[in-house]
Symmetry: C2
Subunit: 242 residues, 2 copies
């Protein structure tokens, strides 16, 4: 039976981290909210129409038969062994999940660069605060997180060029998405990305060239980055590289 | 062998969600950073002295023999079955983990009420923005998250009074900590908590009366809430109930 992915239509957003894993594995899946009556179906879950343990707080969530899995990191932890996108031993799975949760935290901070005060208000209503938050995000947070991921890849004793184990994992796919998102949102500030984070850049390039990913990125299924998603390009929030 | 918990000394913070689980189960554990040379030991991990998969981004992390587990939700997912704090079937574990990740998101938002612009600057330098963020947090985000948890407890077909399954889980313990933290940080705004979120309040009271938790809360091991942690009481950020 096909996996059912539930996520807002029109944006890459958090759903994209799951899509990349499903696409790389050529898994059979339905992007429910982008098909007929899909939004209604998604909201039915969130409103509790399918009961207690099928009532996620927010998309993305994944239905696999009788199981509903919510939150990106939980979904990837669940799918990892099924899609052969994580080593199967417990130690590696726990490690990969920790890395993915660090990615989760970074994604939330990237979102808050344009919504530092309230997700219930427009960007235009918190523009000054967004400038201040973007400045410290680019100065302190990007180097802290990206420097960490760069060190993790470099320290991998199994094979440099991967975050976990000796082959592609969902963590590599997510790092690709982070690098792409940062380049879209902050093209000026990311001018030295390859020099500053060479290992992350190599993982990004390696992922981009995977045949299934390449086919996905040029398909209609891949939505473009835009100003409704997590990574938004507002020139006034960008700045010269540090 | 005792579990080793690594977390900053002096605050409850994110480490507290793990401590509550270990204490409820009377597990054998060492709170490393609060013992001799503990901070040095903790930083050694973060600096990569123990290798690739023993290099967490940030505390809290847990060492169990050869495995290092980072991030609260990952730790509780790992400990849950070992401490008998989650039902053992996959479906329940996946569901509980999704709830815990929703708690994680709420904790990050609670933190950002006092640091909406930069974690690298003082609260005093972002006070006006903190007021704005706290206002929308209390108006929109607390009702959204707490309303959700209240519905989850209410909809539990196994036994109302627990978030997951028919007995105490780590999710219940974490909801207790959220309720306590909110009451500490925003005593005025939480004035109607019992009325607005009766199921969450019942879980909080149930947890507080567990003998092992009661013993812990009155012990020296339980640190007091303070203005270095996640939940901080700044009267100027509090307001009347909605």
């Amino acid at each position: 039976m096909a996996y059912e992915l539930y996520y807002w239509d029109g944006i890459q957003g958090r759903g994209e981290f799951v899509r990349l894993a499903l696409e790389e594995a050529r898994a059979d899946y339905i992007d429910v909210a982008r098909s007929g009556h899909g939004m209604q179906k998604m909201l039915d879950y969130m409103r509790g129409r399918h009961g207690h343990d099928h009532m996620p707080f927010a998309p993305p969530f994944l239905r696999d038969g009788d199981i509903v899995v919510s939150h990106v990191a939980n979904i990837l932890h669940y799918l990892g062994p099924k899609l052969d996108l994580v080593p199967r031993d417990e130690k590696s799975r726990v490690f990969a999940h920790g890395l993915q949760l660090t990615i989760t935290d970074f994604v939330a901070e990237a979102h808050d660069t344009h919504h530092p005060i309230s997700t219930d208000d427009y960007y235009e209503d918190q523009k000054d605060e967004a400038k201040a938050r973007s400045k410290t995000f680019l100065k302190h947070r990007v180097p802290k997180f990206m420097g960490y991921f760069n060190r993790i890849i470099e320290a991998n004793p199994k094979r440099i060029g991967h975050a976990v184990g000796d082959s592609l994992s969902y963590v590599d796919l997510s790092l690709f998405q982070l690098a792409e998102g940062l380049a879209y949102a902050f093209p000026r500030a990311m001018g030295n990305f390859e020099k500053d984070y060479p290992q992350v850049a190599k993982v990004r390039d390696m992922v981009r060239q995977r045949p299934n990913i390449e086919a996905y990125l040029t398909s209609k299924r891949r939505l473009a980055f835009n100003e409704s998603g997590i990574f938004r390009h507002y020139p006034e929030l960008d700045q010269d590289p540090a």
